[in-house]
């Protein structure tokens, strides 16, 4: 036997994040597991409130007052239970995060050069002049023209896109292995978004970064992600390689999301296939599948199957290709041959899963 395989860059298992609110406790994230490998990008998609940000803040150890359960391991090191001091040593040096609104994470009264240099000094104990040189280099690397001059400017003197570049420079200056980007381009124009996504991809390649890209935009996922985690109501609905997901989503919610999108190339004379209803409230979670009230597969199923959806919570189970999973009692039911009922489709799918990693036909 060869030596033990290296642990993945980030491995999250059975993550649970619970907030105590005046209206009762809220389980914002539940039973969530995923893996990020070095050099790869995991796209996390989901609607507002589905738990994307809560998940990333939990990984970064940035939740005050939330109860965190389960396991978060960074290159094999368990992060849950670490003290704030230990965590802050890892933040920046091993893992870093960028947000939708860079202004909120930049200090208005210090120049961007000073702010980036400060990171270098804290984590590497570098001298002032060396840290400053490193900051200017990094600004150049993220594509800021005239970096030496711009390092002396304040955040408000930068445009939105340039500010996001500054954030990326700050995040990467201490050479972390993992970058979590929470909607980094949502506030940007589409032409500037294209620049930022390209920049992140280039830096990832040069440095072998593992990237978590959080977004609600399936187009962004299709452009940058290798693997995708679809979240719904604080849980994983589906996990798959990006091509598999878009070619044949296994979970009815993933299917619904893809079908409801207007596209640049669709026939635009039929109504969009909208998902009815609205996203669930976490305050009063239903006992069964959180998607059940909106699910077209459940709606078309037998009363007995529907009862199962309403009462039994589906856990993520392997589906099709290796490392692919879906949390649905009837995963793939609407992906498989059109005329099949949910029941027979599921039987077919179970048979498929038994064989070796077959592709799901769209």
């Amino acid at each position: 036997m060869a030596a033990l395989p290296e642990p993945p860059l980030l491995q999250v298992r059975d993550l649970r994040v619970t907030f105590t609110t005046p209206r009762g406790s809220v389980r914002a994230v539940d039973s969530l597991g995923f893996t990020v490998e070095a050099g790869r990008t995991l796209g996390i998609v989901g609607e507002s409130g589905s738990g994307k940000s809560v998940t990333s803040l939990a990984v970064m150890g940035l939740h005050r007052g939330a109860e965190i359960g389960g396991s978060i391991a960074l290159a094999g090191q368990e992060l849950t239970g670490l003290t704030e001091r230990e965590l802050s040593r890892l933040r920046g040096r091993k893992m870093a995060m960028i947000f939708q609104d860079p202004l909120s994470s930049l200090h208005p009264y210090y120049t961007v050069g000073e702010q980036i240099a400060e990171h270098v000094r804290v984590h590497f104990g570098a001298r002032r002049a060396a840290a400053r040189r490193r900051a200017v280099d990094m600004l150049g690397e993220v594509g800021i023209p005239e970096p030496a001059r711009r390092a002396g400017e304040y955040p408000h003197q930068f445009s939105g896109g340039m500010r996001q570049r500054v954030m990326i420079a700050m995040a990467l200056v201490c050479e972390p292995d993992l970058l979590i980007a929470d909607e980094p381009t949502t506030a940007l124009d589409v032409t500037v978004q294209a620049q930022i996504l390209e920049l992140i991809a280039r830096l990832q390649q040069e440095r072998g970064l593992g990237v978590v890209m959080i977004t609600h935009d399936l187009g962004v996922v299709a452009r940058v992600a290798h693997d995708v985690l679809v979240m719904y109501g604080g849980r994983a609905a589906e996990q798959a390689g990006v091509d598999e997901l878009f070619a044949g989503p296994a979970h009815p919610y993933s299917r619904g999301l893809l079908d409801s999108l207007p596209r640049l190339d669709d026939a635009d004379d039929e109504p969009l296939r909208a998902i009815p209803g609205s996203p669930p409230s976490l305050l009063a979670p239903a006992p069964g599948c959180a998607f059940a009230p909106r699910c077209h597969v459940a709606a078309a199923a037998t009363p007995q199957q529907r009862r199962r959806c309403a009462t039994e919570r589906p856990e993520p189970r392997p589906y099709g290709a290796a490392r692919r999973s879906a949390a649905c009692h009837f995963a793939g039911a609407d992906t498989a041959a059109t005329a099949q009922t949910a029941q027979t489709a599921q039987t077919a799918q179970t048979a498929q899963t038994a064989q070796t990693a077959p592709e799901v036909s769209p």
């Binding site: 609607e47 399936l218 187009g219 409801s260 999108l261 640049l264 909208a274 998902i275 609205s278 996203p279």
Partner: protein, 337 residues
């Protein structure tokens, strides 16, 4: 739901004596808005915008943030008085009318906003929110309430929820309330400013479908403002692309999307991420350099020239005017490939 539940007097027309019968529903000419900067130079947010809109037609207005879409929309409904230029609605110039003279026309032109919750008064019930425009127009309280319930049904809300408050509704439902309110007076034109941008992806499609259905049933015309090019393609008959306060390309939706002529339209379309990983990998993207410039200090000549790969000397000195090219209008010295 049928047309009968729609506004009773949708077809009522404002006074249009002495106007050209061939005149479109909306005729916008040289619309310009200059904001006096407090400490900075004046900002010309909209700079000579012209277009026509026929009854029942949808014009999509796209462009990056700050290019003047909302300002244009607000001038169309006269939430803003233009610095210069004209807005003729059904043959009548409304751009200079006094608030009093404007009041009878208001019912024909309504607006739907981006953020459904912040555009609804949190202290008013849905009944009040929807019937307010009717009460202003002189309807009785009983009639207005009945009409509000009808409108709720029309936009897919449960009429029994008429006495609830906005916070009791989800974002998508709140946007339905905003749409119901805009329909109360039986308008012929709705200016919708990013009506689905703040909504969850799964809910956007519901609202897009609703707006399309209402247009068909009620014969509405829309000016549909959005930065999402896929949504605009879906709802529009024609599309206008704005850059720094000006329309740089305007034309039939199909030809504009399939064969964009202005370099900015091309770049914009190629920057949109497609929800298809295989297509994304194959695609050649035009990545523009730099950010959109500030309207307070617009570049000379063609304002797009600092970011344009095709720019020549003339582009820095001479402003290109809209000219008919490949069955649409384009403002570029070197349109096409």
């Amino acid at each position: 739901m049928t047309v009968e539940t729609g506004p009773p007097d949708t077809r009522a027309r404002p006074d249009r004596a002495g106007t050209d019968p061939a005149e479109p529903l909306l005729r916008v000419r040289d619309l310009t808005m200059t904001f006096a900067g407090r400490r900075s130079a004046p900002v010309r947010a909209v700079d000579g915008v012209s277009f026509d809109l026929a009854a029942g037609e949808t014009l999509g207005l796209v462009g990056e943030s700050g290019c003047g879409k909302s300002t244009t929309g607000r001038m169309l409904v006269r939430l803003l008085e233009p610095t210069s230029g004209s807005v003729r609605f059904d043959g009548r110039d409304i751009s200079r009318l006094s608030p009093r003279a404007l009041r009878p026309l208001r019912r024909h032109i309504q607006m739907v906003f981006q953020d459904p919750h912040s555009s609804l008064n949190p202290r008013q019930t849905v009944a009040r929110i929807i019937s307010d425009p009717l009460l202003v127009q002189g309807a009785s309280a009983v009639d207005a309430r009945r009409r509000a319930a009808e409108l709720m049904e029309l936009v897919g809300l449960i009429p029994e929820h008429i006495d609830r408050y906005p916070h009791e509704f989800s974002g998508g439902q709140a946007q339905r309330i905003g749409i119901a309110r805009s329909l109360a007076t039986g308008p012929r034109l709705i200016v919708a400013d990013e009506p689905v941008s703040a909504l969850d992806v799964s809910v956007q499609a519901q609202i897009v479908n609703l707006m399309e259905r209402l247009r068909a049933e009620l014969g509405l015309a829309y000016v549909f403002i959005a930065h999402d090019l896929s949504v605009v393609r879906r709802v529009s008959d024609r599309v206008a692309v704005m850059y720094l306060g000006r329309i740089v390309e305007i034309g039939d939706k199909k030809s504009l999307y399939e064969n964009p002529q202005h370099p900015y339209t091309r770049a914009l379309l190629s920057a949109v991420p497609l929800p298809d990983p295989v297509a994304e990998r194959r695609r050649e993207r035009i990545v523009l350099l730099g950010d959109p410039p500030s309207p307070a200090a617009p570049p000379s000549g063609c304002t797009f020239h600092p970011r344009c790969a095709k720019a020549q000397a003339i582009c820095r000195t001479e402003r290109p005017l809209l000219q008919v090219t490949a069955s649409r209008e384009v403002a570029c010295h070197f349109p096409g490939d």
